[in-house]
Amino acid sequence: MIAHFLVQGAQMALVLLLAPLLTGIVRKVKARLLRRRGASVFQPYRDLLKLLRKDVALAENASWLFRATPYLVFAVTWVAAALVPTFATGLVFSWAVDLIALAALLGSARFFLALAGMDVGTSFGGMGSSREVTIATLAEPAMLLIIFTLAFIAGSTQLSAIAAFMLSPEVGLRVSLGLALVALIMVAIAENARMPVDNPATHLELTMVHEAMVLEYSGRHLAMIEFAASLKLLLYVSLIACVFVPWGLASGGGGPAAYVIGAVTYAGKLTAAAVFLAVFETAVAKMRVFRVTEFLGAALMLGLLATLLLFVSRPP
């Protein structure tokens, strides 16, 4: 029993340790693709440590909500990221890893962040919150449709069960799964404020969404929010890897060898995802804010199409 808890604890620590590294690798590959040398892949750790040591500059009219939100967002995102199977399924808390619960956790984190953006009353924060919520109103229905598709196919919204089903030979090639994958990637890009939707490295007033919302934060509050953003990226990568490339995942009864295999393949998947994301971000241009609704509308449409096609692709 204690060993089970240890494995779960290891996963919780692992996501915490790996999240900044993933961000660092993406930045490094992006820099190399632009023929810059780029900062070390460990730079995000240093940034976080530096921010943690700095004082917090608070606006005079900031309420308790503004101060509590960074910790809340971090905690909720960490819980969500620690629940998604990374190297093994069938952990102690696997019964709680429901896709709808994940969507709800992330949704509540976003809710508080949007509130905090408006708390101080600066125009940027309000603008960022408004844009973030606009994006969310399209991204969340798309996410839910993807969840419905997966649940229809696998017969469960629990991630462990879905991963187990994807590993079984009865999956076959399905159009709906392909559509769901594309839609999930689009939602992940939008949710993580990555390139065609939002530029994570910009502070240009007209285009920023996520950065505008957290503009008032500094010091350890900012560290929490940046950490949460890294965790969210890791979460989405783990989610996509767990559902669509579940090979190598250690199942519940496996010994230490299975865990090692799981960890190694997980590292491989993370690196592949980081390189893919960096190449994709280098290849596309940021779109206008008003185009984002079309982009996410396409994701929503793909999700809807995936659900619709399920009715014809039921095995004979």
């Binding site: 090639l173 392909g178 079309e294 396409a298 449409m301 199409l305 619709l308």
Partner: protein
Amino acid sequence: MTGLVFDIAHLLAGCLVLVSFLMLYQDRLYALLNIFALHALVLALSVAWQALIQDAPHLYVTATIALLFKAIIIPVALHRIIQRLGIHRQIETVVGIGPTMLAGMGLVALAMVVMLRVATDVNVLAREDLAFALAVVLLGLLLMVTRRNAVGQVVGFMSLENGLVLAATGAKGMPLVVEISVAFSILIAFIVIGIFLFRIRERFDTVDVHVLDSYRGEQG
């Protein structure tokens, strides 16, 4: 094995529907043409797979025709036309992309509902191919309706014809002669349309078909 055979046929037909949606999403002419070439490529793959599983060698000819004419010759020719007309930068849609997408979803749902009801007692694979084919045809019609530019309408017409070919291969009955004559009539239609485009442009200095409305005589 039958499961996988079915899945691949299904996947290719589903991809065709998806590429139709991609065409609806494009708002630039060159991108539209590239996606149209992709559409024809997916169609060729789908037909070739049907040839393999139905053991019908004449379908390979259909696949080759689709690949040659629709994936290479027609897109290249349309590229040239666009270049000569000098309209590669403009495209106007009648309604926005969002409503078009929604209408497209409605049409796909309609196609599924109709086909699953009507063709209950045929082979499953044929039935679903028919459902997808109907969806592609309807999406092609939608593309024609939503574009103001004549070149966009031509592409919509061609993609509609791709849907017909998909239906024909799924139904296991279309003789090769019919297939070849359809392919050639499409090519001839394309040539006629091409000439027509230049005529329209010579006369009205644009290929925006809305300009034609004022020459109908109703409003004047």
